[in-house]
């Protein structure tokens, strides 16, 4: 089998979508005395082990069909 390739898909909430978890993190950081935090947004990192040579288009289809809910989320793909 060909050497696997690690692809990273980062899923983040779209701008303008309220992120209650991010708000809570921001408030908690302020509570710890970290003053310079203007915002926090929570996302997901999904590492996929796929066959070397898998196309970006295939990964994009995976992201659109399952990994991200494109109603509220954006995704970014990092390939080696």
């Amino acid at each position: 089998m060909a050497a696997p390739m690690i692809v990273k898909v980062t899923v983040t909430l779209k701008n303008g979508v309220l992120d209650p978890q991010g708000r809570a993190i921001e408030a908690a950081l302020k509570g710890l005395g970290f003053d310079g935090v203007a915002g926090a947004r929570v996302g997901k990192l999904i590492e996929l082990e796929v066959a070397d040579g898998t196309s970006r288009e295939t990964i994009e289809n995976m992201a659109k069909q399952l990994l991200a809910n494109t109603v509220i989320e954006n995704f970014r793909i990092e390939m080696p």
Partner: protein
């Protein structure tokens, strides 16, 4: 009325829903496991129950929406069969594209589990015809991800087309425009976070949920 209830790994309101259907219609629904690729013929009503399908992995309802049985449910909905998604079932229907928008983490971050007051926003649908528009009813909620979100144009369209079925009459989870339940454009698919199947008999503390099943039976039987 021929009914079915979909069962995913992690569903936990499937038996409550089946019991409600059986008590109101006099006939037990077929219980359909998520691996099935076809539904029984001539169904009138499909219930997608509450719970934590697939452990809420990735996003609530995301995995269930891609399961084999949901392809059959999407097809049945397209043929005009009635589909009711409750709580996790509502999340599954949005993830499957049968209803617009998405359900996000509650604005207060807490799991909310209590009776809430709802206002009936549309009493013209097959599910809500035994309520009066503007009537206040009391139905329990039990969810962590019930914060309904959609872009402004979608929200305007839902409101303009009378597709908001229920609104919260009190602060619950931060839902856009207090939306608790919505209909699809054909009116045969309803998704809602509150649990009408938990209020069928007086012994359960009220019967405000019962009329939803009676209305569906009147329209479909």
């Amino acid at each position: 009325m021929r009914c079915a209830v979909i069962v995913f790994p992690g569903s936990n309101c499937d038996r409550d829903l089946a019991d409600a259907i059986a008590k109101v219609t006099g006939r037990a629904p077929a219980m359909i496991w998520h691996r099935e690729t076809e539904l029984p013929a001539n169904l009138d009503f499909i219930g997608v129950p509450g719970g934590f399908s697939y452990g809420d992995y990735l996003r609530s309802g995301a995995m269930a929406a891609r399961s084999p049985v949901m392809q059959a449910v999407v097809k049945a909905a397209g043929e005009g069969r009635a589909v009711l998604g409750i709580c996790n079932g509502f999340q599954v229907l949005t993830e499957a594209g049968l209803l617009p928008g998405a359900l996000m983490r509650n604005a207060g971050l807490n799991f909310v589990c209590r009776d809430v007051r709802l206002s009936v926003a549309n009493s013209q649908s097959i599910f809500t015809s035994l309520y009066a528009t503007g009537e206040e009813i009391r139905i329990p909620v039990a969810h962590h991800d019930g914060n309904y979100t959609a872009d402004a144009a979608t929200l305007d369209r839902l409101e303009g087309e009378g597709r908001v079925a229920f609104r919260y009459a009190e602060a619950v989870n931060g839902s856009a425009r207090d939306i608790a339940g919505i209909l699809n454009d054909e009116g045969n698919v309803l998704g809602m976070m509150p649990h009408p199947e938990r209020l069928i008999e007086a012994e359960q503390g009220g019967t405000d949920g019962r009329r939803m099943f009676e209305a569906a039976m009147m329209a479909l039987a």
